[in-house]
C-alpha cells in the first residue's frame, strides 16, 4: 500500500480532512457569500439562526453572524498558521542546536526555556499587548514565544536521543563535520516529529488566540475574532444563545479537525512518535 492508500484508510485523517475542508471552504467563500462582517442594522437586534437572510442569525448590532463567523475563521487560521510557522522554525532550530551542541549552549537555552515556561500565556500576552499596543501582532508574538519554547524542549529531547544512536555515533567516529551529521542524520529524523508537532501546535494556537481574544486581547473591533464573538455573545446567552454557541462551535470544529489530522499523520508517519507528542501535549 502506498502512503496515499494508507492515508485513505486512516479514519482520523479522513474525518479530520473533511472537517478541515469544510472549515476552509467556509473561511474562503463565506465572506464572499454573506457579505461584509461590519454591516449593521440597529433595528434588527438579536436574531436567531434561520432568520431569513441571516442563516446564523444576527448579533446585538444586527450584524450577520454568518459573515462574521466565516471571516473569523480567516483571522483564526491566519494567526494559527503564522504562529506555528514561527514556532516550528525557531523551536526546531533552537532544539537542534541545544540538543546537538550541548554544554553551555544547552544550559543557557534550558534556562531561557525554563524562564519563559514559568509564565502563564495570558500574562505574556497582556504584557506584550501593553507594551506594543493592542491587536493581532502581540498575540502572535506571545503565543509564538510560548510555543517556540515548547517545541524547542521537545526537539531537544529528540535530538539528545538520536545523537546517541549508532549511526550518529558512527558518523562522529568517522570524522564527519557537525553540519553534515546534523543535516544528513539528525534533521531527517526530527522532521516527522516537527511535522506532527506542527499540527498539534496549530490546534493549540487556535485555542490560544480564541482564549486571548475572549478576554479582550487580539483583533480589534469591528474585526470579528471568534473568541471575542463568544465573549460578546455570553451576555445574551439567555436571549439568543447562537451569538455565543456558533462562534464557539466553529472554533471547536477547527481544533477538532486539526487534532484529528495530527493524530492521523502521527499514526501514518511513525507510530513511535505517539509518546513524544503526548508528552508535549501534556504540557
Amino acid at each position: 500500500m502506498n502512503l496515499f492508500q494508507r492515508a485513505l484508510k486512516n479514519k482520523q485523517l479522513v474525518v479530520g480532512s473533511v472537517l478541515g475542508l469544510v472549515v476552509l471552504a467556509l473561511g474562503a467563500f463565506g465572506p464572499l457569500i454573506f457579505g461584509a462582517y461590519d454591516t449593521q442594522d440597529l433595528l434588527l437586534g438579536h436574531k436567531p439562526v434561520g432568520t431569513p437572510g441571516f442563516p446564523f442569525g444576527t448579533d446585538a448590532l444586527g450584524r450577520d453572524l454568518a459573515a462574521r463567523a466565516t471571516y473569523g475563521i480567516r483571522i483564526s487560521l491566519f494567526v494559527a498558521v503564522s504562529v506555528t510557522a514561527i514556532a516550528v522554525v525557531l523551536g526546531t532550530t533552537i532544539g537542534l542546536i541545544a540538543g546537538y551542541v550541548k554544554g553551555a549552549v544547552d544550559t543557557v537555552t534550558s534556562w531561557i526555556v525554563d524562564f519563559v515556561w514559568g509564565f502563564p500565556l495570558i500574562l505574556v500576552a497582556v504584557l506584550a499587548a501593553a507594551s506594543i499596543g493592542s491587536g493581532l501582532v502581540p498575540v502572535i508574538l506571545a503565543v509564538g514565544l510560548v510555543n517556540t519554547v515548547a517545541i524547542a524542549r521537545v526537539v531537544r529531547g529528540e535530538v539528545l536521543g538520536i545523537s546517541e544512536r549508532e549511526f550518529v555515533v558512527a558518523a562522529k567516529a568517522g570524522g564527519y563535520s557537525s553540519v553534515r551529521i546534523v543535516f544528513r542524520h539528525i534533521v531527517p529524523n526530527v522532521i516527522p516529529v516537527a511535522l506532527v508537532l506542527s499540527s498539534y501546535y496549530v490546534a493549540v494556537s487556535i485555542i490560544a488566540e480564541a482564549s486571548l481574544s475572549f478576554v479582550g486581547l487580539g483583533a480589534q473591533p469591528p474585526l470579528p475574532s471568534l473568541g471575542q464573538m463568544v465573549s460578546d455573545g455570553r451576555n445574551f446567552i439567555r436571549l439568543n444563545h447562537w451569538e455565543a454557541t456558533i462562534p464557539g462551535a466553529v472554533i471547536f470544529v477547527m481544533v477538532l479537525s486539526v487534532s484529528l489530522i495530527g493524530d492521523g499523520l502521527r499514526d501514518l508517519l511513525d507510530p513511535r512518535l505517539r509518546t513524544a507528542v503526548e508528552r508535549a501535549s501534556a504540557t
Partner: protein, 580 residues
C-alpha cells in the same frame, strides 16, 4: 427647608469668587476650582429650590409600580443576599473612589435626601442655614457612639468632616467654597467662604460618611498602608463591618445598639430588622439575573438589560427603575483641529448617529437618547436641544461636504490632503464596546474612519486624559455620578482642560452660559441660563452626546421596603425586612 429657599447664595458665591480673583486673593486655578464647585451644584440646587417651592411632583420614576413599601408587621431576622455589579471598594469614605451599598449600612451622613430630593437630617437631629447662606448649623444628638464604642459628639463629627474636607480626593472639587467646621455647644458649624446652595450635596454622599475619626487615625489615616476600610470600619450606621473580600463579597451584621435613625422617612426607629447583609460581587453581567431567579440572591443591583424583559415577566420578582445621572459621550480632541476644529464637521458627525437606534439595540430601550448635555429627566432639561443632532444621514453628508470634506477614491473623506481617519479609544466593557462599534460603523457610512482601540480602564484613562495631542483624537466615555449634581459643566468648562474636559474644547459661548447659570439668582434665571447652556452645547458640540441609561434594581417580592430611589444610589437598609 424654609430657611434655604428664600435667598440666592449662588450669586454671593460667584460674586465673591470674582471679587477675590480680581483683587488677587486667589489664583486663576483656585478661581476655576471655585466656579467648578458652584457649577457642580447649581443644577441640583435649583432642583432643590424647585422641590421646596412645590413646583414639581417629586421624582420622575420610569413608571414601575411596586409593592415594596410594605404593609404589616416587619419580621426580624435573616440575611439579605444582594448581587452587586461592581467589585467592592474600601469602606473608607476619605480614600475610596467609589462608595458601595455597604456604606449606607455602616455609616450615616450628617444629612440626606428624601424621596423628593429635599434635604433632611440623618446623623444630625436638625440643621439650618443662615440668611446669607454663609453658615450651616447641624445639631448633633447627645451621647451617640460609633460601633467601636468611641464617642461621636459634635467634636468628633466636626473633626471627621474637617478631615474629609482637607484630605478627600472627591471632596477636592466641592470643598473650595468651604471655610471649615467648628464646634459650638452641641452643634457643628460649617462656615463658607462664599455662599453656595449646593454645600450640602456632597454631605449626603458616602464620600462624606461620618467615620469615627479616632479609629480612622489609629488604623493609619490616609496613608497608603492604612488598614481602615479594609480590615476595620467604624461608623454609626445600623450595621457593622464584618467581612470585606475584594473580588468576592462584603458582609455587614446588625448593630444591636443602633438607636434608630433621625431621618423622617426611615420608618424603623430602632435596630435593623435584618441580621446581616451580604453583597456578592458578580461582574459577569449575564450571570446576575440567573442567580436571582434561582433564589441564590434576594436582591440585585444592576442586572444586564438583556435579561430585563424576562425578569419583568417573573411574578416572584419586582423590577425598580429610575433615571440615572449618567451618560455616554464622545470626546473630540480639539488639539486635532484638522478633524474636529470646525463646528460644521462636528455637526456632520453628530447627524450621522442614530441615537434612538443605539438605545433600542444596546440598552434594550432602557435609556434615552441625548441631544444635549443633560439626561432627559433632569429638571432643567431643555427639550429644544432635540432640534439639534437628529439622525439624518443626508444632512450629515451635506454638512461634511460644506465643511470641505470630499470623498477620496476609496470613499473615505479627505480635506486639504488629510484623510478623515483617526484613533478612537474605548474601555473594554460589553456596553461601551457595543456603543463604540455602533458609532464607528455609522461614521463609516458617511466616509469617516474611526479606528477602535479597545483597552482596559487604566490605559483608557491614560489615553483620554493627556494634554494636547497626547490624548486620543476621540474617546468614548461613560459618566455616572452618585449624587444629583450637574457635573457636566466640569466637562465643558475651559477651566478644566485636559481633565476632565477631555475634548480640550474652549467655547466662549458655553463658558458664558455656565457663568450666567452660576450667577443666576432665581429659579427662573437659572432655568433661562441652563437652557442657554444646553442649547450652546447642542450647537457647538464640545462632545457628541449619545444617550443615558436607567438605574435598575430587582428584588424578590418577599423583600420589603427595599426601595432605591432617584436621589439616592442605594436603598435604605435599616427599613428592609423579609417576609419569608
Amino acid at each position: 427647608m424654609e430657611s434655604s429657599a428664600n435667598h440666592d447664595p449662588v450669586v454671593n458665591g460667584a460674586t465673591n469668587l470674582v471679587a477675590n480673583y480680581q483683587s488677587g486673593k486667589i489664583s486663576r486655578r483656585q478661581f476655576g476650582k471655585g466656579l467648578l464647585a458652584l457649577g457642580l451644584s447649581t443644577g441640583a440646587a435649583s432642583a432643590i429650590l424647585a422641590a421646596c417651592g412645590g413646583s414639581d411632583s417629586g421624582t420622575s420614576d420610569a413608571g414601575e409600580t411596586t409593592d415594596t413599601v410594605a404593609s404589616g408587621e416587619p419580621k426580624v431576622g435573616g440575611q439579605l443576599r444582594e448581587g452587586y455589579n461592581r467589585d467592592v471598594s474600601k469602606h473608607d469614605p476619605i480614600t475610596t473612589n467609589w462608595y458601595d451599598p455597604a456604606f449606607s449600612c455602616i455609616y450615616e451622613t450628617i444629612v440626606t435626601d428624601d424621596y423628593d430630593g429635599n434635604t433632611v437630617p440623618q446623623f444630625a437631629s436638625d440643621w439650618s442655614v443662615s440668611e446669607d447662606g454663609m453658615t450651616y448649623t447641624f445639631t448633633i444628638p447627645e451621647g451617640r457612639v460609633s460601633h467601636s464604642g468611641g464617642a461621636m459628639g459634635a467634636q468628633q463629627v466636626a473633626e471627621i468632616l474637617q478631615t474629609i474636607k482637607d484630605t478627600s480626593f472627591i471632596g477636592g472639587v466641592s470643598t473650595v467654597p468651604m471655610e471649615g467646621y467648628s464646634v459650638e455647644g452641641n452643634t457643628v458649624v460649617l462656615k463658607m467662604k462664599n455662599a453656595w446652595l449646593g454645600a450640602l450635596n456632597p454631605h449626603k454622599t458616602g464620600y462624606w460618611a461620618l467615620a469615627n475619626i479616632d479609629t480612622w487615625k489609629a488604623a493609619g489615616g490616609a496613608d497608603p498602608s492604612s488598614t481602615y476600610g479594609t480590615e476595620s470600619a467604624d461608623g454609626t450606621g445600623p450595621f457593622t463591618h464584618t467581612e470585606w473580600v475584594p473580588g468576592s463579597h462584603t458582609l455587614v451584621t446588625r448593630w444591636d445598639a443602633y438607636p434608630g435613625s433621625n431621618t423622617p422617612y426611615i420608618t424603623n426607629k430602632g435596630a435593623a430588622y435584618l441580621d446581616s447583609v451580604r453583597w456578592s460581587v458578580i461582574t459577569e453581567a449575564g450571570q446576575r439575573a440567573t442567580q436571582l431567579e434561582s433564589g441564590e440572591l434576594d436582591t440585585l443591583i444592576g442586572p444586564s438589560f438583556a435579561d430585563l424583559e424576562r425578569l419583568r415577566g417573573n411574578p416572584d420578582l419586582t423590577v425598580i427603575q429610575h433615571p440615572e445621572w449618567s451618560g455616554y459621550h464622545l470626546t473630540m480632541n480639539r488639539d486635532y483641529p484638522e478633524f474636529f476644529g470646525d463646528q460644521l464637521t462636528r455637526q456632520g458627525l453628530s447627524h450621522a448617529l442614530n441615537r434612538q437606534g443605539m438605545v433600542d439595540a444596546i440598552l434594550f430601550g432602557n435609556g434615552d437618547p441625548t441631544y444635549g448635555p443633560f439626561p432627559k429627566t433632569d429638571r432643567q432639561y431643555e427639550p429644544k436641544v432635540e432640534e439639534y443632532n437628529q439622525y439624518d444621514v443626508e444632512l450629515a453628508k451635506s454638512k461634511l461636504a460644506e465643511a470641505g470634506w470630499v470623498a477620496g477614491a476609496d470613499g473615505v473623506l479627505e480635506r486639504d490632503g488629510t484623510r478623515f481617519e483617526f484613533d478612537y479609544v474605548v474601555e473594554d466593557t460589553t456596553e461601551q464596546k457595543q456603543v463604540a462599534e455602533a458609532v464607528a460603523q455609522q461614521f463609516k457610512e458617511v466616509g469617516v474612519i474611526a479606528n477602535l482601540k479597545v483597552v482596559d480602564r487604566s490605559v483608557w484613562f491614560e489615553q483620554a486624559s493627556g494634554e494636547g495631542r497626547k490624548a486620543a483624537p476621540m474617546a468614548l466615555f461613560f459618566w455616572l455620578w452618585p449624587v444629583p449634581l450637574d457635573i457636566l459643566v466640569i466637562f465643558g468648562s475651559s477651566e478644566t482642560i485636559p481633565v476632565p474636559n477631555f475634548s480640550h474644547a474652549v467655547e466662549p459661548t458655553i463658558d458664558a452660559a455656565i457663568d450666567e447659570w452660576r450667577l443666576a439668582g432665581t429659579e427662573e434665571a437659572s432655568v433661562v441660563a441652563s437652557s442657554k447652556f444646553q442649547l450652546e452645547w447642542a450647537d457647538k458640540l464640545p462632545y457628541l452626546p449619545l444617550m443615558n441609561q436607567y438605574a435598575t434594581f430587582v428584588h424578590q417580592n418577599y423583600v420589603k421596603n427595599w426601595q432605591p430611589f432617584v436621589w439616592n444610589l442605594y436603598p435604605v437598609y435599616n427599613d428592609v425586612w423579609m417576609d419569608k
